[in-house]
């Protein structure tokens, strides 16, 4: 796999076309505990894309899309190695698009097995067979293991999966990207690290069961919108939040996937609770416009040594 080593240049006007990133959000309702059925359902999305001529650069699916979220001890039965997930998705993709399948990037959540340990992971992979001008080949681009495992209230992740140890931005054929899973997002430092590492789009996969029915939408969806808007406006980048939907044992996942732009504006609200595909386009050149107005990230970069020194004092206290 060849990796892009330099960041895309957002300044040059002749590169504007290249900075348009088409994203297809799959607000997905998995078949509980049935990995094979869910891979086939992702195949159904490919089928629909092929049949309807739906073109996208990135297809993104939520946390635990290949199994459902609340599996308890069933994690060990639904977990797969990352290479297996890639191979299965690639097989589904090639089956629909044929031997000359164009490249398609995909992000999705799954329970991962690695050397006998289990993780709540998100995979970023490039599917297809045709290499583009930058020399990209199909393959796994990055695998993020959930760093902050939700273990409170209705959640009990630490009992069934191990926690990831890294929060890392990575290069894709569309530039520097980051991924977070659910509670990772609730700690602003995780998104801040990705922003400092150069991510211009953060894909967040999420499985959030609805709570708080006081207002016009589940209260936790409102809270999520605030969270991703704050990340976008603080760091002037795009956030693509893709939510699970459907019920699992009485717990209804919220749906209502959200995209925010580098100005901190919500540019997409998917329907609440409903399984659907939502298509949008991110103009990555907006990052430059927003950052020129509001150089918060540059300020943070310059103050970083002092902040790191402060953080070290916490470590020692």
């Amino acid at each position: 796999m060849t990796q892009i080593t330099t960041r895309p240049n957002f300044v040059s006007q002749d590169e504007v076309e290249r900075t348009r990133l088409r994203v297809l959000l799959a607000q997905f309702q998995p078949q509980k505990g049935d990995y094979e059925a869910n891979v086939r359902r992702v195949g159904d999305i490919f089928e629909q894309m092929a049949a309807n001529g739906v073109q996208t650069d990135v297809l993104t699916l939520p946390e635990t899309a290949l199994s459902g979220y609340f599996l308890e001890g069933g994690v060990r039965e639904a977990a797969r190695r990352q290479q297996v997930v890639f191979d299965d998705l690639q097989a589904e993709y090639l089956q629909r698009f044929g031997p000359d399948a164009p490249l398609l990037d995909i992000t999705l959540g799954y329970y991962e097995e690695h050397r006998g340990a289990f993780y709540n992971s998100a995979l970023y992979a490039t599917l297809g067979t045709t290499s583009n001008h930058a020399g990209w080949q199909p393959g796994i681009v990055h695998n993020h293991r959930k760093f902050f495992l939700a273990t409170y209230g209705v959640f009990d992740e630490e009992r069934f999966v191990s926690r990831g140890r890294r929060v890392q931005a990575f290069d894709t054929r569309f530039g520097r990207t980051g991924m977070l899973i659910c509670e990772d997002t609730w700690h602003s430092i995780a998104a801040t690290i990705l922003a400092l590492q150069g991510a211009h789009v953060i894909f967040i996969g999420n499985a959030s069961p609805a709570r708080q029915f006081a207002n016009d939408e589940p209260g936790n969806l409102t809270r999520w919108r605030d969270l991703v808007r704050d990340i976008s406006s603080e760091h002037n980048l795009f956030v693509v939040l893709t939510n699970l939907c459907g019920f699992e044992g009485g717990k209804g996942f919220i749906g209502g996937s959200i995209v925010t732009n580098p100005f901190g504006e919500v540019v997409l609200n998917a329907p609440v609770a409903k399984e659907c595909l939502v298509r949008t386009e991110l103009n990555l050149a907006d990052i430059m416009v927003a950052r020129s107005e509001n150089p918060l990230l540059a300020d943070l970069e310059t103050r970083l040594p002092d902040l790191i020194a402060e953080l070290r004092t916490i470590e020692r206290s």
Binding site: K32, G33, F70, L71, E72, G73, G74, A210, F213, A214, N215, D216, E217, P218, G246, F247, E248, G249, G250, G252, A273
Partner: protein, 295 residues
Amino acid sequence: MTLIATDRFELIDSPPPDAETIGRNLLKMNPLLVRDWLLEFLRDELIRRRHFSQAVVGVSGGVDSAVTAYLCALALGPQNVTAIRMPYRTSSRESLQHAQLVIDALGLPSRTIEITDAVDGYIKQFENEADGRRRGNVMARMRMIILFDQSAKLDGLPVGTGNKSERLFGYFTWHADDSPPINPLGDLYKSQVWELARLLGVPSVIVEKPASADLIEGQTDEGDFGISYQRADLILALLLRGYSRNRIIEMGVGSAEVDLVKSKLDKTHWKRHLPTTAMLSNTSINDYYLRPVDY
């Protein structure tokens, strides 16, 4: 040294919110959103996950079963919801009539199965001295037997009607009222069920009357509890939020009320669980061997 004349500043007091304010906020709900969510819940549990098209609801004439019947009718279509009235000889005439109001309003297929002979077959012949509590439990368990059997006959699923307030008070018969495999109202306090009932258009005579288990004439839930549902729900909501007894008293709730509610809650945790099993292995079910209900 220059002193700032503080008396030129207007002093605004902003006291911490009291129990009423916090409780009201905790109990606040959007009934329309709740209704739509519960309809999706019912469709998902019955149709998608369990592949049933038919629901069976024991309609008592009270507001909980009325709301459940309304929700099921909206979710599945009234023709797919069978209402069963199961009066005992001491049940009030009014309850039976109110149940009929629900059946007529929704156009539900229905059946009335009197449980007197079945209950008395046991009580009169073997346990004639049984007190009201035991008789009430036998009635509730007989109704459970009928609901499950009617569901088997109709190839349907019994839908539970218990609300959060009575679940938290333990004010139900274990493995009877709580036995149906799905329950749309179990996370709604009684006061919230009333609110939902008004939205759904449940006849006001059912919504406005005092709640009653209807085991003996003139009985009301609130009479049995010694506190109104409005007050109990407020205190339950504060306790479940995690506020201590003393903190709730400090917020302005009387200690007698808090203690009454807290003692009912504390004494009934067992009723909200499956039977306790002696653990002997490291594969003990629900201790070690953990699989979710829909797995």
